[in-house]
Subunit: 412 residues, 2 copies
């Protein structure tokens, strides 16, 4: 199969950008990616645009990508609007890679942009409500929250202030993990502390404050075992990648040796399973397919960005991806194995917890970090000698797991 | 390039289906397509799901396809939610074809489903408002309506009842056409009368009442030169296609000789141009690319389904596609050239005007008709000896034209 490359990446800082529109954010990320790749706008032959909430937030239910890209002078080429909840941007990348493989184009843009921060807090928090079956909310909630029943939250471990039901669901998954494997709240806190520590070195991260495990544990509770610094914030931002084949790469003005190879891409939809049957978790299935596709084993991975919408997510995903033994995601963080300098650094960018989570841009934000790592350009957060890098991006909820997972394996 | 086939198609009746959900409509169309192709659900390796309004109508802003397909037992496989306004379904087909070409899958589902009819009329009509730039409504409106300035609407030619601004825009395009080419309201009426006549033979059409040109002209006015029967209605419905390569086709239980070949697929985004510079219209550009891709000339096309959201649309598109000479789209209808039995039958299904326009399903509804025609299974609306069939599906508005056009050329 022909090699597919990522020739350039760009992203905005993730954070609160009240004064900037989806168009503004898109333009910044795309211009940065074009410049990074040495690519002229006119060389783009196609684009995939990821966004999940502009309909809800602004009433822009359709042709989001055409409008955002046209406002920066990218017109005429095929543009497809892609939505897969929080995995929208990695799905856009996946389609760009497939399009290049199909022979339909040599140089393709994948971009994700999201604008969620709003003065209208009710609307802002309601943005997530469209990420599961709106016709089955009570049953979904009951089914998902039941996962946490084996562990009783201690008194005072729930926020008195309003928060998203999805945090309760992540908390239930965390308590299931505690029951199955004996993991502890301190281990989840170790994940968050590690990621906040990483973010100090990432100038594009929303939060850049180091936190100790003790500080994470002492922070305001959300839903046991989750405390505030274990949660990703609401964010604005955009990220983009220029995808090409060898012929396309030759036409670009960038330094071709900085291009990164796409070793594998897997998109997986969830399926029904018992909550404690993690062998059938969609991410485990997707990981099997990914490693087989690339001819790589989990221990070959040098660095990973995984979907830590909460610290619980990172614990689960790092196990499901085979980066740490089953049940030991929290323990690995506690031991420093997943920190910069550890055996398998996870979320060197700071992860969603610190870097931010503009949901339709997040997957390409992960790819931005991994491309930077593979190039050896990550500065004080550089993982030494990175040859193979893995991104895991999840989206939505259905059954007892994410509705979608999208995995990307990159290499030099 | 490997041949890509459509092995099966299915669609619901288009119309008012108040008691049916997006899941219900999806299931019916997909089951029909699977049965038509002799395909088991488990043989599907991937799916593209098109929808444009479920966020607006129901708050289901994300993972629409995963939820709809999972409710009918299709889980695990990659699912991508695709939106390109009224061209969403043809875009889903386009991506399915590319995915098969990329080698990532042998058998792929493309499905579009839309549920727009509602007791809440205000919400229903507002569904279209997300199809252009919500941050530039006044300027867009002024620019688009200016196209009609050369022809003054006669007294009494505007509806006193509320209607969508998009009908005013189509009307302005119609008046531009009248000014440029001398076309007449009676010619637009001839298009509508022809399509309503065709729909009598289509059991899946929303309206199946023949109308004379005189009846169309005497019908309630909407916005000059448009009268009510020249407009597509608000509709619910779903349509699906099973796309495969030769290896996939062999695995299916259907009659392989009923499979139809995909000769070409072009997705095009609009660009800025002067309103009267139709040489640079996105559909003309897309048509050039499509015919070149397939090695076919416009006169080789035996039957076409074009995007007649209003009769004006059919007039414009049939010219831009090269099916009739420039400026003569209305004249051709008046002369019977585009009717069943004419030189180049257009919209034998009845078109959007009669068949209905569930926007995220429309493009695959067109493909359903053309596959049926190519197989010689269209009964009393069969065009004799169809070898090559063309679908044109447009979506959204930007600048002075559609934001997106998606063209599909099919053959035996």
């Amino acid at each position: 199969m022909d090699t597919v490359f990522i020739a350039g990446v760009g992203m905005t800082p993730f954070g609160r950008h009240l004064g900037q529109s989806v168009k503004d954010l898109t333009r910044q990320a795309v211009q940065a990616a074009l410049q990074d790749a040495g690519c002229e706008r006119a060389q783009l032959q196609s684009a995939f645009f990821a966004n999940a909430t502009q309909g809800h937030m602004e009433g822009q239910h359709m042709v989001r990508g055409q409008l955002a890209l046209r406002s920066m002078g990218i017109a005429g080429i095929p543009v497809v609007n892609v939505e897969n909840a929080c995995a929208s941007a990695s799905t856009a990348l996946h389609l760009a890679v497939q399009q290049v493989r199909s022979g339909a184009a040599d140089i393709v843009l994948a971009v994700g942009a999201e604008k969620m921060v709003s003065e209208d807090k009710a609307r802002m928090f309601a943005a997530f409500d469209g990420a599961w079956d709106v016709h089955d909310v009570q049953a979904s909630k009951a089914r998902l929250l039941a996962m946490g029943e084996g562990v009783t939250p201690p008194a005072g471990s729930q926020s008195p202030r309003p928060y998203s039901v999805f945090m309760d669901i992540y908390a239930a998954m965390g308590r299931l993990h505690m029951g199955l494997y004996g993991s502890t709240q301190a281990q989840f806190a170790a994940v968050a502390a590690k990621n906040h520590g990483h973010s100090v070195h990432n100038p594009l991260a929303q939060y850049r404050e180091a936190m100790s495990v003790e500080q994470v544990l002492a922070a305001p509770p959300i839903s046991y075992p989750i405390t505030l610094p274990m949660c990703s914030p609401v964010s604005d931002g955009a990220a983009a990648a220029i995808v090409c084949n060898a012929a396309g790469l030759k036409r670009l003005q960038g330094n071709a040796s900085r291009a990164v190879r796409v070793l594998g891409c897997v998109l997986q939809t969830g399926s029904d399973r018992a909550a404690d049957n993690l062998q059938n978790h969609l991410v485990r299935k997707a990981a099997h397919r990914l490693y087989a596709q690339a001819g790589v084993a989990p221990q070959d991975v040098n660095v990973a960005e995984v979907h830590d919408a909460t610290a619980i997510g990172e614990v689960l995903q790092s196990e499901l991806l085979g980066l740490v033994p089953e049940g030991q995601g929290g323990l690995a963080a506690e031991r420093g194995e997943t920190a910069l300098g550890g055996r398998i650094p996870i979320n060197p960018s700071g992860g969603l917890e610190s870097k931010g989570h503009p949901i339709g841009a997040t997957g390409l934000g992960q790819v931005f970090e991994l491309v930077t790592q593979l190039r050896g350009e990550a500065g004080s957060r550089q993982v030494p000698g990175v040859r193979i890098a893995l991104a895991e991006n999840g989206g939505g909820l259905a059954g007892v797991e994410e509705a979608v997972a999208c995995l990307t394996l990159l290499g030099r």
